[in-house]
């Protein structure tokens, strides 16, 4: 009984951590959605250009533990996100710049927000000197 009590306590604390992680993911979701709106504006010819002309590939990562295989993202960016079999998602982690709008829409569409897009694609720019050794 004592063990169960302890387990419960520990798990409650862990859940708190998980909640904070979820908040973090929701923040990503918010930014993803904003980015998608931004890119829509860009398509309409407004001034907002996210990472435009950097000549770099995008960077994404999909949390495949979180991914449930709803595949909402696949038709939105079919050259970047594909299904392997019925349920397993396969994706290009560093797709070409020309895929940017599609990928941002795909990330925004994910019901469990499993697609994380680089901060550069959310309008945040690294002030640091990058990765020079």
């Amino acid at each position: 009984m004592e063990t169960t009590g302890r387990m419960k306590d520990s798990y409650l604390t862990t859940m708190k951590g998980a909640q904070e992680y979820n908040d973090w993911m929701i923040e990503f979701a918010r930014i993803n959605v904003n980015a998608a709106f931004d890119s829509a504006q860009e398509l309409c010819g407004s001034e907002i250009a996210i990472g435009k002309g950097r000549g770099l590939n995008m960077r994404i990562v999909v949390d495949l533990n979180r991914c449930q295989g709803y595949a909402q993202c696949v038709p939105l960016a079919p050259d970047v996100l594909k299904l392997h079999g019925e349920e397993a998602l396969m994706y290009d982690p560093n797709p070409d710049d020309s895929q940017r709008q599609r990928v941002l829409r795909a990330a925004a569409s994910c019901p469990v927000q499993a697609i994380m897009v680089d901060m550069h694609d959310k309008g945040v720019h690294d002030k640091g000197k990058g990765t020079a050794s």
Binding site: T13, G17, Y21, I60, M90, D92, P93, G128, T131
Partner: protein
């Protein structure tokens, strides 16, 4: 000035001008750095990595990259925020001095720290014979450079590929070879693929999947020798059942080795299964005393887990690196009342032969398994592992949407077998022995292992009472 104010001043000043060194520049190192900045650490941050590349994601290497869809150097990880760190890439850490609080580098530099995060992870276990390992066409896979070389070898249309070891990565590579139309032999010492991770019952299903897709799967055999041609390229493999097969590419997929060598002499509880730490990611020393300034995250960390009898759990899972690094970073800049535990419910995924395999919990902790939902024949099902009447793990084949449900049952140690589902009953719902191999059987090491209660495999020195 009260003690509380003093302590709070120390924390404030550490956050603004302390020095944190992260050794390891992969997933855990990067996410740890981001979490430190998120937690308000504005001091000097140094990230040391032996590979010359900026942090990249490894799971795609054995799948998208080998298939030739994604170039090997195109798995760079996205950044969640700027980290404003000094990156020391392409130079390995070679030593740790806890007295002077410095990390020694391969080029002779010494990097001082106030707090250290150990995230050096694992490397692939090399082929056991050095001469044979040096043959052209013999590979292991862990880094993007490895994957690039192996992908080029597969693209050159070898007559036959031999994969030694049928763990998750070996099986994924076999799947890719078949998709590329290549002949592939998989040699596994145990009597089923994935047996160390999922046991023999599920392993048999994995074996059928491989054979249905045209893999030449050879079980219960080991590869005794590799032979090369005059040009030093591997051409033949000799198996323990006296069979010789002609091969052009050999991939040793034998599990991993923890990168602990650089910690030798530092007095930390580092051993075969990694560096022992408490549930708050603080490293133990060899005597089992917890350190104040050294934290551990990712594949190299092992910590006692409440759900598994407080045995030290060693986990090579992707999200263990993400969550563990975040907790370690938080605790590095927090005082005791605010510290958090990292008690992950282990979770993994693997895509192979068109089937999405996902798991939660520690399957190998169980001794019984039951097919709880779906159809094995159609290769869409959920299997649940139990021990002494409690659910301890679950795995799904193309049934991933149900995994969270079983994860919740594991979290509250629900009774085993689970209640029958309202629909989609499997033909047989009787628990059977899970058939995990004797841990002494040499087979590929699973990526989640309960490693007992000892913080280290080095003996602590017993200090008798002074008289």
């Amino acid at each position: 000035m009260s003690t509380a104010t003093l302590v709070s001043d120390v924390v404030t000043s550490f956050k603004s001008s302390g020095r944190i060194v992260i050794v390891g520049a992969s997933l855990a190192g990067l996410r740890g750095a981001e979490a430190l900045r998120n937690a308000g650490f504005n001091g000097k941050l140094t990230i040391i990595g032996d590979e010359p590349h900026e942090p990249y994601d490894r799971p795609p290497l054995s799948k998208q990259v080998l298939k030739g869809w994604v170039p090997a150097n195109h798995t760079t990880l996205p950044r969640a925020r700027e980290v404003d760190a000094e990156w020391r890439l392409g130079v390995a850490a070679t030593g740790l001095d806890r007295k002077t609080k410095t990390v020694r580098l391969a080029n002779g530099d010494e990097v001082p720290y106030d707090r250290l995060l150990i995230a050096t992870g694992v490397r692939s276990r090399p082929w056991f014979n050095k001469v044979e390992a040096a043959l052209e066409g013999v590979f292991t896979i862990r880094t993007s450079d490895d994957a690039g070389r192996l992908q080029a070898a597969l693209a050159a249309k070898p007559r036959r590929v031999l994969i030694v070891g049928a763990g998750f990565i070996g099986s994924e590579m076999a799947s890719v070879c078949r998709e590329l139309g290549l002949e592939v032999t998989v040699a596994e010492r145990a009597d089923a693929p994935l047996v160390g991770a999922l046991g023999g019952v599920i392993g048999k299903i994995a074996a059928e999947m491989q054979r249905d897709h045209g893999v030449d799967l050879r079980l219960g055999v080991s590869v005794e020798a590799l032979e090369g041609d005059a040009a030093g390229h591997v051409r033949r493999a000799r198996l323990s059942d006296k069979v010789t097969i002609d091969v052009d590419v050999v991939v040793a997929s034998l599990g991993s080795i923890r990168n602990i060598e650089w910690l030798e002499g530092a007095g930390l509880a580092a051993g075969f299964w990694g560096v022992a730490c408490d549930a708050g990611c603080r490293a133990f020393d060899v005597s089992g005393v917890v350190t104040d300034s050294i934290f551990v995250a990712g594949d190299i960390a092992r910590a006692p887990h409440v759900l598994y009898e407080y045995q030290f759990l060693s986990l090579e899972h992707w999200d263990n690196a993400v969550f563990g690094a975040a907790v370690a970073a938080h605790n590095m800049v927090s005082l005791e009342p605010d510290r958090r535990p990292h008690l992950p419910l282990p979770a993994f995924w693997s895509g192979q032969f068109g089937v999405n395999i996902k798991g939660v919990g520690v399957q190998s902790f169980g001794d019984e398994v039951v097919i709880a939902q779906g159809s094995v024949k159609e290769r869409r099902f959920a299997a649940v592992y139990g021990k002494r009447g409690r659910i301890v793990g679950a795995v799904t084949f193309n049934h991933g949407k149900w995994l969270q449900y079983y994860g919740a049952l594991i979290e509250r140690s629900a009774s085993f077998p689970p209640p029958p589902p309202g629909y989609d009953h499997p033909a047989d719902m009787k628990p059977v022995p899970a058939e995990f191999p004797d841990p002494r059987t040499p087979t590929a090491l699973p990526t989640v292992v309960l490693t007992g209660h000892d913080p280290t495999d080095r003996a602590a020195e017993f200090q008798p009472r002074r008289r």
